[in-house]
Symmetry: C2
Subunit: 454 residues, 2 copies
């Protein structure tokens, strides 16, 4: 019985035109990761629920796609338990595998399982889909690609420096002007330490972030209503009104945080990263931004985020330094630093700013032969073979249908050259070549045709 | 709590070295598909069970990985039904999505959903993983990649010709000597028609296939015990003993099948394909083989299969012509022809025959700088930047640890050049470059170093 087909909500088909664009994004990111010595790995789409559960919080556990066990999936579950309908509890009985939720947990699992083969520091990148049973909405999908790179097993800040260079290189290649925002978890801890309010750090960064919009007075009011003492707010003033160059900012902060050991460490780290980057010819701006507060429960050192300057789309890349990636799998003390490019958002920015390369980057047909019938096809086949051996992506329309239909096909596929072979061309051992953008036609030999297009 | 991590049975991690090899395979296949005008698409990993169920037989339905519904997955199921434990029946109530089982059904679904955007004939390729809950065994995985190409919406035999050329081109690139076996479903139908035994075609092809091993007499005995009449066996003799060139074989068969309309059609088709291929400079042999009987329920015209000549591994590529790809989704009459490269088997053949390119094909580091500390790093950073801008995949060891550890790292990653910068090099504004395979060292300027490696 015929049913009208559909795809699961929150998932997408990618047609040929989207694939060319997506491959351009992934290939560019891959190329740059390789340029910096990162190596690719891939992990299975499915992981055991033991690997996945408890790593993303209760909400994350709910959003994991779980695979129903094969065969008698009720086996071992009593009737009582079934009619008890505790679906949350029963799910790990009905299912022992789930789909990858991100690339970090599978990477941690990979490192622990392959620790004896890996030469540390391990610079790996991974570009694969992940799945989340989130409520689908504009720009949020249930299946999407992540493009992660991490260095684990090295505490050197050179790794942070390289990640900043990777970001810069990738966006220069894309032609997207960006601003890289840099912060350090240790600076934020220092601030909290100095004002004696360890748990208020998110309130503080949020309030400071509003300075331009609502003004100093309102910011201070917000801090007071968040429970900060008058003295604490006083101490924060230089940080709230922080401005100038990165050096000036670091100067100001180091005065405020002089008595916080961890704060001073954060300042030193930031200084080293920014100073080193000056030696590398970074094309985009990197600015110290204390309001940046991503992944506070996870990151322990540098934190960074990238915004496109000519788009309102929000963060398109981010990452940071973390401790103890693999502790949860019984391998403590492995620290690292990592980043992730937001491929879907980058796609939207490239589209909105019309920055996708005009010339087909990967794999569109360059030449199509019109098909007038068997005799002409016999003449064309060896030429077609020659063209392909010369590396020209070419095809012959398979059916000898009306020429209009064949030309429509060439247009729909944006094929730049169409070759026409009729009786006359066969007699003269030539081919008529039509340039589809200019409309110009000329008759030439097979070799000249290949030379022209190659 | 730390648990010792594992991955689901039948799945695999791919480390950096395997990824380089796998990328080489996929990139080569992609490149050739593009060369012949095929366009890439991707479909979601999950499809609705409505799309998937009933397409692969009862056994296939069982082997589908089903995704447990989110939230209250028991909703709408009565207590009675639960304790009834009809797990086969209940699975479509607990689950409405499954993982892709192959690329053909999602492709058919794609074509129907996007019929208005597609310009036919549609030449698409698709390289994505599929999942099957098969019992894992050597060489059989629960997650593996398929590499399919199909042309739909054209009945022209030129499409078959092109698929043969694609096969030839791909295996020439790989350096794998292959034999392409060609058959035609219509010839097999013709044989069955002539001898009046429509349902015995599999018995016949299987028996004929044993000719070399067991001899003519035994083959005839097998046919008799399969229920073929003496007369039928008599008629089959020229076909059982078929030999000679493809032309001679077709000659023989056309005498036997002269009265079968469908048989004659199959012979004409095979003749056209083989004749056309003579005009294209095929490097590998293509032979007509009537014992080839793959996918008989599915294929309606040409059938083909590829064997590696220097390996016992069996079929590494196959495909054929089919009718009515999309009828099951309410779009009848769309015929096509398709093929699939067996990436895992090709990987094994390339490994066994030591045919993977020696030079790293995709993305291994070319140059590593040894790290002696901050002063040296400051000197190196701009040079490193320059090297990367010149396209050299390079890295600096992030930590200033013992040189032995750094050299071990370079060796483990098979990095061909190591650059050493100490006090002396800084003073002379040079770099010492070590060729890791020859052990030779020389001191040169940054520009000369780049020229040497690029």
């Amino acid at each position: 019985m015929a049913n009208k087909p559909s795809i699961p909500k929150g998932t997408r088909d990618f047609g040929p035109k989207e694939m060319v664009k997506r491959n351009y994004i992934f290939d560019t990111i891959k190329e740059v990761y390789s340029l910096f010595g990162f190596q690719q790995i891939e992990t299975p789409s499915m992981e055991t629920l033991q690997t996945l559960m408890g790593k993303y919080g209760d909400e994350g556990d709910k959003l994991l796609f779980k695979i129903l066990n094969s065969g008698d999936y009720f086996k071992g579950i009593t009737d009582e338990e079934l009619v008890g309908r505790n679906t949350l509890k029963l799910q790990t009985r009905l299912s022992e595998k789930g789909l990858r939720y991100d690339l970090t947990v599978p990477f941690a699992r990979y490192v622990v399982m392959h620790r004896d083969e890996i030469q540390f520091p391990f610079k790996r990148y991974q570009i694969q889909p992940v799945w989340r049973a989130d409520r689908p909405q504009k720009g949020r999908y249930r299946e999407f690609y992540q493009c992660d790179a991490d260095v684990v097993g090295s505490e050197s800040l050179l790794n942070e420096v390289e990640l900043m260079q990777i970001i810069d290189t990738v966006f220069v290649k894309f032609g997207i002007r960006v601003q890289i925002k840099l912060n350090n978890r240790k600076i934020l801890s220092g601030i909290a330490e100095i004002i004696g309010e360890q748990d208020k750090i998110v309130h503080i960064t949020t309030a400071i972030d509003k300075l331009e919009k609502i003004g100093l007075e309102k910011v201070n009011e917000e801090l007071a209503s968040a429970g900060l003492s008058e003295q604490a707010i006083m101490q924060l003033q230089p940080i709230i009104q922080l401005n100038g160059t990165n050096e000036q900012k670091l100067d100001t902060i180091s005065k405020v945080l002089a008595k916080s050991e961890i704060g001073v460490k954060g300042i030193e780290e930031s200084k080293y990263i920014l100073d080193s980057l000056k030696k590398t010819g970074l094309k985009n701006d990197i600015i110290l931004d204390l309001t940046l507060a991503r992944g506070l429960n996870y990151y322990t050192g540098a934190i960074f985020e990238v915004k496109a300057l000519d788009s309102e789309i929000g963060s398109i890349t981010g990452g940071g330094r973390y401790d103890n990636l693999t502790g949860i799998f019984g391998m403590p003390g492995l620290s690292g630093v990592g980043m992730s490019f937001g491929a879907d958002r980058i796609y939207d920015v490239l589209n909105a700013l019309d920055l996708f390369p005009k010339k087909s980057v990967c794999g569109a047909t360059q030449l199509m032969f019109v098909n007038f019938g068997e005799k002409e096809t016999d003449y064309i086949l060896p030429i077609l073979d020659k063209a392909r051996k010369a590396g020209i992506r070419s095809e012959i329309f398979p059916d000898a249908v009306k020429i209009k239909k064949q030309m429509n096909y060439a247009n729909a596929k944006s094929i730049p050259y169409v070759a026409i072979v009729g009786e006359n061309e066969i007699k003269e051992e030539k081919i008529t070549l039509k340039d589809m953008s200019s409309g110009e036609q000329c008759m030439l030999s097979a070799n000249d045709l290949i030379d022209k297009i190659v």
